[in-house]
Amino acid sequence: MSTKRIGVYICHCGVNIAQTVGIEELKSFAATLPQVKVAENYMYMCSEPGQELIRKDIKEKKLNRIVVVACSPRLHEPTFRNTLVSAGLNPYCLEIANVREQCSWVHKDKKVATSKAKSVVAAAVTKVALLEPLEEKEVSVTKTAMVVGGGIAGIQAALDIADSGFKTYLIEKEPSIGGHMMQLDKTFPTLDCSACILTPKMSDIKNHPNIELLAYSEVADVKGFVGNFKVTVKRKPRYIEEAICNACGTCAKYCSIAIIDRYNEGLSKLQALHIPFPQAIPAAYVVDPEECRYLKEGTCRQCEQVCKELNAINLDMQEESVELDVGTIVVATGFDVFDANRKPELGYGRYENVITGMEFERVVSAAGPNQGELLINGKKPKEVVFIQCVGSRDKTVGNEYCSRVCCMYTAKQAHLVREKLPDAKITIFYIDVRAFGKGYEEFYDRVKGESVYYRRGNVSEVYKKGDKLICRAEDTLLGKPIEVPADLVVLAVGIQPSAGARELGKLLKLSTSPDNFFLEAHPKLRPVDTGSDGVFLAGCCQGPKDIPDTVAQASASAAKAVIPLAQGKVKTETMVARVHEQACRACGYCVEACPYDAIELQLQEVNGREKSVAVVNEVLCKSCGACTGVCFSGAIQQTGFTDDQILAVIGAIGKEY
């Protein structure tokens, strides 16, 4: 082994490190360690003059291994790797000794912290001597993107990627795009009509030359890695030829099977052969296979007779599988509305005049079952009560988080009631009102001025007394129990992760945070990235959001998803797992342990004998080290963290200094 010429550079981090770690003592200690040629200190090693110090020594003193004694490698490892590169050294000849998070920030006693810092530095010096230069590799990128979910988040992300000039597949599991936003009546705080601002974007999706919409489709499988994903999409049979149907609607008139209208939250009915809503994109009818008499019982086929001319109806349509090659993926799978049946004390499902916020949207919508008239059982309600935080900020249902939209949509709905029923008595029960967005506080203030009674308290029970509902609560400002009568109770149900997205999460190896929403790579600095390279998050799949935040995040994830496509290549992980073929006994534990499917068993000739051995796909490997943990014979080793290196580090750290 050639001798190494090691330089050790100790950072004061202002007083962050210097206050608790004896810099001079550490420096003279470092200078005594084997193969160390230089030990220096500086106020801010990450500053340009600090880095220049390292560059100068690499050139003048012929250093070939560098230890930076500073903060966590999560922060400045990339900085110093670049420093090495600019001085002509391989970037992997670097080791960071973290004496800030591991010493100065966690100890008060300077003596103890200094002594520990010595161990950490000794370990880093030992390890850096064992590091070998590594080569960075690149792979080319398929210049297409896939967006999963056709709500406002997916629509915005797809439009932005497509506008950047890249082919984009938009996958939507329902027969039409639009998502929950399409169901909303007005949007807070500006009271624009939700459909009016959404449908132009939906048309853009249909007309965009770079967008291919796959509606009524689901992602069945994802293989590959950033830049080179292979996606299998399952296209559910629509039973209507999407390209032929002109949405004339004649067929539906002949369909005698009435089904629940999910777009109207079950408040009205439509035919088994239907279009989800008039502005649906794709503008094509669809047959509900669960309800269609022919598909269930084998007789009828009346609709086919009606569409003789266009011949768009094909009840023999089968599910199809489509393979897509995409470079990056945006996940925009949205949310499910909290199921109000889980709060039985609030009377939902028991009393007809207890409805959810989403149902209220349909009731007051001009396109809803009552053409926008606020009628409950055919009557105009005189007293309306809104209950906030149903299924949010509620440990009893396992949702500790705030759903972030209910305060504002309740304020908006109260305003709509006031508009439609000037004499109604309106009460809102709340825990706290959160009006954090632009124009929100002003809107909340306006609603308060419209004779809407905000009462601070959690409703414990809704029960029937005569022909009224009684909401029982404690008004926590008065400190008194109160009962408020109501003809209509609206539950401000919160937002939950989409149940259908769980499988997709598994396919894309996405983690979830404790609230079960998909986890971003870093809560502040990488809010739309995920742990899987090339997969980005947009909208409520990452956490509850209102429309402005969703659209902003969708554009952000589109910008991120475009980066690899624009660059045309991605760097692969360098510190990959490597297999010692002779020691490998092909038990396959590493294959199963690998979360990235990067390892497979292959027949290879080893020492003149054909045997099965584990082979690592270096493009897929993410250097997590799971494989090395399960290998009994130590045959699989992670570059930069080999058994040799780790044992040497343990040896160095275990000594007394």
Binding site: Q582, A583, R585, A586, C587, G588, Y589, V591, E592, A593, L601, S612, V630, F632, S633, G634, A635, T642, D643, D644, L647
Partner: protein, 325 residues
């Protein structure tokens, strides 16, 4: 027909098959109670085969050798290997298959419904210094021991191997041919482990210090273990050297603890390690503790289900997370 006769007639047919290269079984040993593993290559040799409570060896160990011909003393050529397995041995087969250690279609498995095998150490203590060839038969809970021209009857549980007194798998989990009918299995409540667990830490430390101090690092336990089959054992390696070769208590301890960890979720309780230990270290006690933990934490028993994946090849987010130590 007794087990030996049935085994011989099955073996005759199996060895006559063109696709079968050899048969791994048991034959009479050279003295006393000894039975020896043997490799047969021709139907003419089947009269050498025996099966009795003295057939203690787990023959699956031979399957992972690079060249079984060494045991046969000749080149056995290419073809399937027929192997005689007891219930416990068959679990080793299942584990080996789960780990790709052997391929099912290269085997003909002759399962024997063994009612139990003798604990050789107890047997030779009860009947010391038997040099002439002796025989042992087991029926209805009684062990008939024939040596020196006399036959003595002993209650089986006195001389049976401990693993047989708690065996649930009298019917092999994998077989192509079956010898005999399985007796009813016995429940395993891990009472032996619970007893050890109840001891205080000092008592445990004292016990294992005494036991591991006796170890001479002959590696018989590792070599006989059907699931210790890495051709390049990590404990032999010099760089990096995880365990030093010095025969001292700390290094012996490290060796045995590492081995026990490597067998967690894999050990099928054949008891071969303790049987071959020349220093009488109760090695199975360590493995038994792991078996109990693995069963309680992960509801997993190694080799019981031939279709199941190996424990370490599975990961569920809801897995117990308390650690094993």
């Amino acid at each position: 027909m007794d087990a030996t006769s049935t085994l011989r007639s099955i073996a005759k047919e199996v060895l006559a098959r063109k696709d079968v290269a050899c048969l791994l079984g048991y034959e009479q040993g050279s003295y006393g109670f000894r039975v020896a593993p043997c490799v047969l290559t021709s139907p003419k040799e089947v009269d050498r085969l025996i099966f009795s409570p003295l057939c203690v060896h787990n023959l699956t160990n031979y399957l992972t050798l690079e060249n079984i011909g060494l045991l046969a003393g000749k080149d056995i050529g290419k073809g399937k290997i027929a192997i005689v397995v007891k219930g416990c041995d068959s679990r080793a087969l299942a584990m080996l298959m789960a780990e790709n250690g052997i391929e099912r279609d290269k085997l003909v498995v002759i399962g024997v419904c063994s009612p139990g095998v003798a604990d050789m150490k107890k047997l030779e203590k009860r009947f010391p210094n038997v040099v002439d060839k002796a025989a042992v038969a087991l029926s209805n809970g009684t062990l008939k021991v024939t040596c020196g021209g006399k036959t003595e009857e002993v209650p089986a549980d006195e001389l049976l191997s401990a693993k047989c007194t708690r065996c649930k798998n009298k019917l092999p989990v994998i077989y192509d041919e079956l010898v005999g009918e399985p007796e009813e299995g016995r429940p395993d409540d891990f009472a032996d482990v619970s007893e050890l667990e109840a001891q205080n830490i000092e008592a445990k430390q004292q016990k294992w210090q005494a036991e591991f101090s006796k170890c001479i690092r002959c590696y018989a336990c590792r070599n006989v273990c059907p699931l210790c089959y890495c051709s390049d054992c990590v404990l032999d390696r010099l760089r990096p050297q995880f365990v030093r070769r010095s025969v001292t208590y700390p290094d012996n301890l490290l060796f045995h603890i590492t081995r026990a960890f490597h067998l967690a979720g894999r050990c099928i309780d054949c008891g071969e390690c303790a049987r071959v230990c020349p220093q009488d270290i109760p090695l199975t006690e360590l493995n038994r503790k792991f078996q109990k933990d693995v069963k309680e934490l992960f509801e997993y028993e190694a080799g019981v289900d031939p279709e199941a994946q190996a424990l370490f090849a599975t990961f569920r987010t809801e897995d117990a997370d308390e650690g094993i130590l």
